[in-house]
């Protein structure tokens, strides 16, 4: 629970920090669209290169972005494997006969046990995982003796490999872009930017200011609520609620014992908060001045220009290549 990062903002001084949040939000969206227009691995690799250039120019540590990727590593691997297995277009690159028999299954089980035993070396988790998968492959390919139950063909096509790289690189670029946004923009500025960008929605009756206020209050209370959830969990654990074990029936009761206090406290808090806001003269929908005033500068213009150029570039590439 404690590892959830909410305000990913990390103070810094690169040019990305000096940009208006609106510029950043729009640029990121536009660039994402541009990335989706690209068709080949080469194009994407160039885009990836550009993304890394932005990081370098913005003095953002690549390692930090990498660390941010950790939680979605599984997703990346899954995407990769999925593409390799299920895309059956283009030239056939690999055609291996895989054997599943008594000996090979035993070996695989043994291999799994060894892998799990080594799993406590958390540092090498990734390497071990890759070794494990590789090992399974080798076992199925080469261990062909003993009673054989069945065989199957492991087929990898050109397009499969290409697509798996393609999808993963695209995902990487998109994640990098959005991380850059949240890493270099204070939550307050972000909501302010969203608010300003949503102004036009007033036409259809949505007040962008109220919306922004809701977002910023949510941002402000997320850490408090997580902290509270943790305390409630400890308080119920004190009464023997064991959230890890127990029968399903007990478990439901225990989850209720967590949810009810959370809701009750949330209601109480929202009442208090409404009182506090009202007593400080807040009236929904009424005109307010703002302490954070956004101003577009030359840097924003340049960034906007660069973004538009990149988009134009990818449109051209899409049409002519």
């Amino acid at each position: 629970m404690k590892n959830i990062i909410i305000g990913q903002y990390i103070p810094g001084s690169g040019f990305l920090y000096k940009l208006d949040p609106r510029t950043k939000i729009i640029s990121v969206i536009v660039l994402m669209v541009a990335v989706f227009l690209l068709k080949s691995i080469v194009q994407l690799s160039i885009a990836m290169g550009l993304a890394i250039l932005i990081l370098i120019a913005g003095k953002i540590s690549i390692i930090r972005i990498f660390r941010g990727l950790k939680p979605i590593f599984v997703l990346l691997i899954f995407t990769f494997v999925f593409q390799i297995f299920f895309n059956k277009e283009g030239a056939l690159w690999v055609d291996e006969t895989m054997t599943i028999g008594f000996v090979s299954i035993t070996s695989m089980v043994l291999w799994t046990i060894i892998w799990r035993m080594l799993a406590k070396f958390k540092k090498f988790k990734m390497i071990l995982f890759i070794l494990y998968i590789g090992g399974l492959y080798l076992i199925m390919k080469y261990i062909t003796y003993g009673t054989i139950f069945t065989t199957w063909q492991f087929l990898v096509y050109e397009k499969g490999v290409e697509m798996s790289f393609f999808v993963v690189i695209r995902l990487l670029i998109i994640i990098t872009l959005s991380t850059v946004l949240t890493l270099t923009t204070k939550p307050t500025d972000l909501t302010q930017g969203i608010e300003k960008l949503m102004r036009p929605l007033k036409v259809i009756g949505i007040s962008s200011e109220d919306f922004a206020l809701i977002i910023s209050i949510s941002l402000r209370y997320i850490p408090t609520i997580l902290d509270e959830a943790n305390k409630i969990m400890l308080a119920q654990a004190s009464r023997g609620a064991d959230f890890a074990e127990g029968k399903l029936k007990d478990k439901i009761k225990q989850i209720i014992s967590l949810l009810v206090p959370m809701f009750i406290i949330a209601f109480k808090r929202s009442e208090d908060l409404a009182d506090a806001m009202e007593s400080r003269n807040f009236v929904p929908g009424r005109e307010r001045t703002r302490i954070h005033d956004l101003k577009l500068g030359r840097l924003d213009l340049l960034t906007g220009l660069a973004t538009v150029l990149l988009l134009a570039g990818s449109i051209l590439v899409r049409i002519y290549l």
């Binding site: 990062i5 909410i6 004190s238």
Partner: protein
């Protein structure tokens, strides 16, 4: 038996702050019977963190903790049922709102016993008994805990822990937010529970008057360090308590003022108004 801390450290790994040493090198022993301890220190000194160690809700980052014969270290040991520790050492959190969730007081108090595999009937009996112990009559059993006053909610939340029949009862700032009458009634309640059942009781509080009057033993935390472990008589005889960010009890302050103003030598270490008055009379007569 009881609870033994041996050089226990604990650090929170927080979201932004990185990691934070909340308690440092704590060595301490708490008997399983007849203790009446108050745990004091300014906000953030680590009181709640220390309390949560006592029933294995959090595990030391380093050092060893022995709770009723079971070793608790930074590593979880699969052979230990940590839940059993929580039955031996009951911890009541500061806000009853953190734990009340059932539609009747009775069901809410039964939640604990049922978690420890008591039957429905046994749990009912325990709930009734626990409610009596906190000074509420049977009429409360069927009431909705959310419609009770702050003081009553607090009592019900304490009953919810007492129903587990723990040997040691730890209470995190039970008197905060109560008016002076409410505070005193609650402390009297803890005292009578302690005397009648022989359970050890540990109360976290900021109120030095209560510490002086009720505690047999005081633990003082300052910035995560255990800086004092002894009787209140010894603590309040120390010269410079502000170094621990603590005050002196009102009786001592008043009597000290009198001594200074009238050049007397009254024994200023009196716990109650009555004792203070008696001491003044003795002081004036001699």
């Amino acid at each position: 038996m009881g609870i033994q801390f041996k050089q226990v450290n604990f650090s929170y790994t927080g979201m932004q702050k990185g990691y934070y040493e909340a308690i440092k090198d704590i060595s301490l022993s708490i008997e399983s019977k007849n203790e009446f301890i108050t745990l004091v220190g300014q906000t953030g000194s680590g009181k709640s963190t220390l309390a949560q160690h006592m029933n294995a809700l959090v595990f030391p980052t380093s050092g060893t903790l022995e709770i009723f014969g079971k070793k608790v270290t930074s590593k979880r040991d699969r052979h230990i049922k940590y839940n059993d520790i929580r039955q031996k050492v009951g911890l009541v959190f500061q806000f009853p709102e953190y734990q009340l969730f059932e539609e009747t007081v009775e069901k809410d108090i039964m939640f604990g016993p049922l978690n420890f595999h008591k039957t429905e009937e046994e749990a009912k009996v325990l709930a009734k008994k626990a409610l009596q112990m906190v000074g509420l009559n049977d009429n409360y059993l069927n009431r909705n805990p959310f419609n009770l006053s702050g003081g009553e909610k607090k009592r019900v939340s304490i009953a919810g822990i007492l129903a587990l029949d723990p040997e040691v009862l730890v209470l995190d700032e039970p008197t905060s937010g109560l008016d002076p009458k409410g505070k005193r009634q609650l402390m009297d309640l803890f005292k009578s529970i302690q005397e009648e059942t022989g359970k050890s009781i540990i109360v976290i509080t900021h109120d030095m008057d209560l510490v002086y009057e009720y505690a047999k033993r005081v633990l003082v935390l300052d910035k995560g360090n255990l800086v004092f472990d002894g009787s209140p008589e010894v603590l309040f005889r120390m010269n410079d308590l502000s170094k621990f960010h603590l005050d002196y009890p009102q009786t001592i302050r008043v009597l000290k003022g009198i001594n200074e103003r009238f050049n007397l030598s009254i024994d200023i270490y009196q716990k109650t108004v009555h004792d203070a008055t008696a001491a003044i009379k003795r002081g004036l007569n001699s």
